[in-house]
Symmetry: C2
Subunit: 303 residues, 2 copies
């Protein structure tokens, strides 16, 4: 059994010196021209997507980034072969020393939730990951099998609390007569479970939260206060419009407890580079910029 | 492009004479002894699971059942090979004349939701299905790419509204100051979308709802009134404790608009049969019983 995810994550952020996480949402249209061999693509999109994904992991390891978050939907759309590549990418990421967060947003009840947990959590799992994202709509009992499996294997969970899309409020901001909205109810369940599982001596429990990087600062601060024992996964920096400095309210008073995944902002860096720049150099430079920018935000938050 | 899912589903229920849907949640421990060749299982669980799943589809076609609902989690737990079997099962179900509802409960935002839709909706999709289940936590805009793809391909969606598990209320019953709970908000979005998409002349729109068969009758009736244009998928009959007659409040005034998936209640029928009974006969008889019991509930609801 591995050490608890939250301990491993905290150590990894300190080693890396930054909460940056490389998101992997590979799309054909992201491929740099050097990887666009039309004959190869005509034979199937997976070969160039594989080369691009493995190159991103390789660069991330060189730059000293601690985490990667592959998004399963971009593999699932290619069927069983795409999912074989998803498993390979997870394995290569671990081999490169990155902690892996499989962004799967699964959720179901009882034995079905347990079957999903078997797919992702534990060394024997076909898509073995250090952590996964899950969806809370079905209620706390439906999250039980994920919590059990995560605890048994030293893995982590990131429960959707407040997402970054414009329509998120339609469900997540529905508030009861006491003014507590759905996100707050989910956050309180997370904190109560983290207390039960991690005890008072451990800083973070196994259950983290997803809060979008574009969520307004006042709401982030309010939810952060409800989640004192959680790592927060804050997507939305880059293509969705948030800047590195917008992640400031996510950090706890020690400038820790946050992971910031960036996908398109990294994968498409070659488009913004001066012509003649090698695409790998452009991506490496973008990773370094983001790594340092987020390290600075974290350091400022710790004052 | 196929005819709209709701029209095809309505015709199929009438042909079959029953809203019964065969759920496929294949687990090793469900296998009848005749399929338990230990050498084969030691070599990998997928061969016997495949034989059992295909046999269930074959029997369902013989009995004249109109629908099947494979649960992806029980294939996903076996990795890419399990998902290759999931694709095969979907193809075999269609070949056997069944309409397929892939129970995947996916949900994500923007281009990620679109990637999931590409995985399941449309003839070119690797896991091509007639309909899928989706999760509404992320809000209406996150459901947009699924709605677009379903409309483009004549497919259906079943959005989780109120689930059958004991903890469902923790999120789904959070009610605003006007007393409208999360399930009601989701139901109203579904109905407004169905009006927009199907116009007033079509009885049902493409967006159905999942409401658990164990949900109390008064709540089912209230949600049914909010969903006049939706097929309802009502799981929970059998292993989860609901009886066929508990589905009565789900039917509309014509005794239609419902699909009732039964998984373990069918797959485990061989355990209840007198010793010496062929497992296929036991399963066939159970399917026939359920088919007739649900046909009677529907007929009674139409009075």
């Amino acid at each position: 059994v591995s050490a608890p995810f939250a301990e491993r994550a905290l150590a990894r952020v300190r080693e890396a010196g930054s909460p940056l996480c490389v998101g992997l949402d590979p799309r054909l249209e992201q491929l740099p021209p050097a990887l666009c061999d039309l004959d190869e693509i005509a034979a199937g999109p997976l070969a160039p997507i594989r080369r691009f994904s493995l190159a991103l992991l390789d660069i991330a390891a060189t730059v000293g980034i601690g985490f990667c978050k592959p998004q399963v939907a971009f593999f699932e759309r290619y069927g069983a072969e795409g999912l074989a590549l998803f498993a390979e990418v997870l394995g290569e990421a671990r081999a490169a020393g990155l902690l892996t967060i499989a962004d799967v947003k699964r959720g179901d009840i009882g034995s079905t939730a347990a079957a999903y947990a078997e797919a992702y959590l534990g060394k024997q799992a076909p898509f073995a990951s250090d952590a996964i994202t899950i969806n809370p709509y079905l209620g706390p009992d439906a999250q039980g099998p994920f919590v059990e499996a995560a605890s048994a294997h030293g893995c982590g969970l990131f429960v959707l609390v407040r997402t970054s899309n414009p329509g998120a409020a339609a469900v997540q901001a529905i508030a009861d007569v006491d003014g507590r909205d759905v996100s707050t109810h989910v956050a309180r369940w997370i904190t109560s479970e983290n207390r039960r599982l991690a005890g008072e001596d451990m800083r973070y429990g196994p259950i983290g939260a997803v809060i979008g990087g574009t969520v307004r600062a006042a709401l982030v601060r309010r939810l952060r206060r409800e989640l004192p024992r959680s790592f927060i996964l804050a997507p939305g920096v880059g293509a969705q419009g948030a800047k590195a400095r917008d992640t400031a309210p996510f950090f706890d008073s020690k400038g820790e407890g946050v992971l910031v995944p960036v996908s398109r902002g990294i994968a498409l860096a070659w488009r913004d580079a001066p012509s003649g720049t090698d695409w790998k150099d452009a991506i490496r430079q973008r990773m370094q910029q983001l790594k340092h920018a987020l390290a600075k935000v974290a350091a400022d938050a710790a004052r």
